[in-house]
């Protein structure tokens, strides 16, 4: 490697370290670091636990020479690397390496940093660790094969790394353009529909296809996880060169993926600004239409809600969070329709599934509430100079969010109905009655976290840094209120008294409403005290 490149990488590492040290001068930053550390420890415990499990499983499967399940495990880890970053992006702390473009970096340094950035992701570290555990399990059971299967694991890790990066940048690019967003959500809706159509209309064909794949496993051999599995199989059978051949084929995948990644990084190096590609509209002279009118609401609140919903509709990141919960019942429904085994509780008791889906909806959209001003940018100044109380601003945001979550809850119900999993009436009422309690608890804390731990987010980008302390506190709140609601539901379900649960939820909701109102009355003075932090955080370019 060029010595200039190494010098630049070292200088940037030094710069980041200084930035980190300087960032710890305020109490808020130290709190955020503490939150991040606690989250990291929790994440590490879960990640290491799964890793140890994978090690043991791989060890015993290799020891007993029962290798078929290993293929499924490798596929699971491979898919986890591709899918998890999309789901947990908001709660992971990452660095945007594109900011480094302001320095005179060579392209080679920039490319190297882009890969380091990908590896710096907690999901990538976790999945790499899992792969290492599987490798260690097999290698411990059969030490003689370790050297032969190592290249296959290494190649699989590298290929998955490139594929994950390519996938994320492709989605980011798609979401940052209005037409791309439309296309993405058309694909999303079509996928949901096709899952249903394929699941019901083509269920028999799917069964046949599955049986055919089971009878002809070699068809899967074109994919990296199956190739890695093949490397283990051939190696354990004493054919080391076969394992090396499989590794070489996996590595071949890496070539086009690396080139695609290099092409993207080159475009960014040359100054492409994905966040500025949105909304380029042709010059139009259409008349200016009047804003929305919502019954019972004052004009300023209506204007704020209109702005919130327009922003959400133009923000792929937010839309994904609001649409993902619909997938869960659709997935179970489709699998059930295709005749596959589904956890019994999910098919036997759709009401419980529905309740779980609502909890999941609130969990996945948690960061939309705990960092509500993330996308305002310089617009936050407008909210401070406008003749509107800040409590009204945040109440409008709460209303818009609550409307989206309630819409989700209704849509989930219809998705379940479509798949023949209609929740019972008492179950539906109980789940909907729990919603005010859960929602009010979430937004009461979220309103405060948004003031105390604000973070600026840009449109059309995944993997933006959320405050660690904010994530931790929001997560704790979700766990506590989820446990209370879940506990009541479980007991009521066991006693067959879901109506009582609904009443209890309404009482809890009324109590939480008082807490919410009380917090809101203090919001103006809190916002006034926090306005400098908010504007400084959201208005920096």
């Amino acid at each position: 490697m060029h010595s200039d490149t190494l010098t630049q990488v070292a200088l940037i590492a030094q710069l980041r370290w200084r930035l980190f040290r300087n960032s710890l001068r305020t109490a808020r930053a130290r709190l955020e670091l503490a939150g991040q550390l606690v989250l990291s420890v929790l994440g590490a415990v879960v990640g290491v636990g799964i890793g140890v499990g994978l090690y043991g499983l791989s060890f015993f499967l290799a020891k007993d020479n029962r290798l078929a399940p290993l293929e499924g495990i490798l596929w699971g880890v491979f898919l986890a690397w591709l899918i998890l970053p999309l789901i947990v992006a908001a709660s992971t702390s990452t660095v945007d390496f594109r900011e480094l473009l302001r320095y005179p970096l060579r392209f080679s340094s920039f490319l190297l940093l882009s890969l380091a950035y990908t590896l710096f992701d907690p999901v990538a570290i976790t999945v790499l660790f899992w792969m290492a555990c599987i490798f260690a399990g097999v290698a411990s059971a059969r030490p003689d094969t370790a050297l032969w299967i190592a290249p296959a694991f290494l190649a699989l890790a590298v290929v998955t790394l490139f594929l994950s990066r390519t996938l994320i940048t492709a989605i980011e690019r798609m979401l940052c353009r209005p037409r791309g967003r439309e296309l993405f959500f058309t694909i999303f809706i079509l996928t949901m529909l096709s899952v249903q159509v394929i699941g019901i209309a083509a269920g028999d064909y799917l069964d046949l296809a599955w049986e055919y794949l089971e009878a002809n496993p070699s068809l899967l051999l074109v994919f990296p996880p199956s190739l890695a599995h093949s490397a283990i199989e051939t190696s354990l059978a004493g054919n080391g060169t076969g394992a090396l051949s499989a590794a070489a084929v996996i590595a071949l995948y890496g070539v086009p993926l690396f080139l695609a990644h290099r092409r993207r990084v080159l475009a960014q190096y040359r100054g492409e600004d994905s966040s500025a590609e949105s909304g380029v509209a042709a010059q139009q002279t259409a008349p200016v239409k009047a804003g929305w009118r919502l019954p019972l609401l004052p004009g300023a609140i209506t204007a704020l809600i209109e702005k919130e919903l327009r922003y959400a509709a133009r923000n792929g990141f937010v839309l994904i969070n609001l649409f993902i919960p619909l997938f869960i019942p659709a997935l179970f429904g489709a699998v059930a329709a295709a005749g596959e085994k589904v956890p019994e509780i999910l098919t036997r008791d759709p009401a419980t599934t529905y309740f779980a889906c609502i909890l999941y909806t609130l969990l996945i959209s948690m960061h939309l509430v705990s960092n509500q001003f993330a996308f305002e940018g310089h617009g936050i100044q407008f909210l401070f100079v406008a003749p509107v109380r800040f409590r009204d601003v945040v109440a409008a945001k709460n209303l818009a969010y609550a409307a989206a979550v309630i819409l989700d809850a209704v849509l989930i119900w219809f998705v379940m109905l479509t798949f023949g999993q209609m929740p019972s009436l008492p179950g539906t009422v109980a789940a909907l009655a729990a919603l005010p309690f859960l929602l009010l608890a979430q937004i009461t804390l979220g309103n405060l976290l948004s003031l105390y731990f604000p973070r600026r987010f840009d449109f059309g980008r995944f993997k933006q840094r959320q405050s660690g302390m904010s994530v931790l506190l929001a997560l704790l709140q979700q766990i506590v209120t989820g446990a209370i609601a879940g506990g009541i539901y479980a007991v009521a379900h066991w006693l067959n008294l879901l109506w009582i649960a609904a009443l209890l939820y309404l009482v809890l909701g009324a109590a939480m409403w008082q807490v919410y109102r009380m917090a809101l009355t203090h919001y103006d003075s809190l916002a006034a005290r926090r306005r400098e932090t908010l504007t400084a955080e959201l208005c920096h370019d």
């Binding site: 500025a276 509209a281 200016v288 009047a290 204007a303 940018g377 617009g379 100079v385 406008a386 449109f459």
Partner: protein, 280 residues
């Protein structure tokens, strides 16, 4: 019997802002007493870091003073913030734009936030887009606009409700001649209609041409305040007392605002031969 003193459009008493702890923090604005009369076109000047933006941020409610009082149109800004904000328009340094709304949506939004009904807001938005020559980009998202277009839009949003006092932080910075002419035209029209305009700017030629009154802040302290003629005579008087030549170097010729400014805050730096010799 004396007639009561008419209320000022903007009045500050010992306005102070300190950043950081009292013992070693930065005193950005130090006991500033400003008085801007109704209908004045007021320029607030100062070198970089003098305290201009800090002052205007306090005057518009974006920053809380450490001490002192602010009255806008005889209303206490911190006791009656909503009432004051209804009467003023603000274009802050960052322009306060929502970049993912279209220009028309943003003006509609601004109008309704300032209490206009939706039809009036839409009608005024259309008129303002026409006036600022942004009508053909009414349905383009603000994020796609050039800097000059953003400034025009921010000004349009700040005046959509017909404010009585308008605060502008560096309205001409980074704006081309054509956009600047549009901004000037809108401001002149407002002042002619009795609106008070308070602006900060580094472009002294424009301030000299537009403003009837000027204040200069230096190292957090107000060092001059008055009409251009008052400032000029003050500087000339001081120069005469000290027996120095006028800066214009041409007897009988009026001092420009730039010359007055340099006289008050200190002259330009002249690099010694040995300084920065590596620059070539």
């Amino acid at each position: 019997m004396t007639s009561p003193v008419p209320a000022a459009a903007i009045l500050t008493e010992n306005l102070t802002r300190r950043f950081g702890p009292e013992e070693n923090g930065l005193l950005a604005v130090d006991r500033v007493n400003l008085r801007v009369e109704t209908g004045q076109f007021f320029g607030f000047l100062g070198p970089n870091g003098a305290g201009k933006s800090t002052t205007i941020r306090m005057l518009t409610g974006l920053l809380e003073p450490t001490a002192g009082r602010i009255e806008i149109l005889a209303l206490d800004l911190y006791a009656q913030p909503v009432q004051v904000k209804r009467r003023i328009g603000v274009v802050p340094e960052g322009l306060a734009l929502f970049e993912r709304l279209t220009a028309a949506e943003y003006l509609n939004f601004a109008g309704r936030m300032y209490g206009l009904d939706r039809h009036t807001a839409a009608q005024r938005a259309a008129e303002l887009l026409e006036f600022t020559e942004l009508a053909d980009r009414a349905h383009t998202q603000v994020g796609e606009f050039s800097h000059g277009m953003k400034k025009k839009l921010a000004l349009a949003a700040a005046v959509i409700h017909g404010p009585r006092v308008l605060f502008l932080d560096e309205p001409f910075e980074g704006v081309d001649t054509v956009a600047a002419a549009t901004l000037r035209s809108l401001m002149s029209r407002m002042v002619a209609g009795g609106v008070t305009i308070f602006l900060t700017s580094h472009v002294l030629e424009i301030v000299e041409r537009l403003c009837s009154h000027v204040a200069i802040i230096h190292k957090g302290q107000l060092v001059a305040q008055g009409s251009l003629a008052e400032l000029r005579s003050g500087v000339e008087g001081r120069a005469a007392q000290a027996g120095a030549e006028p800066r214009s170097g041409r007897p009988g010729e009026k001092l420009t605002l730039e010359q007055i400014f340099l006289e008050i805050v200190g002259g330009a730096r002249t690099a010694a031969d040995q300084e920065l010799s590596w620059l070539g």
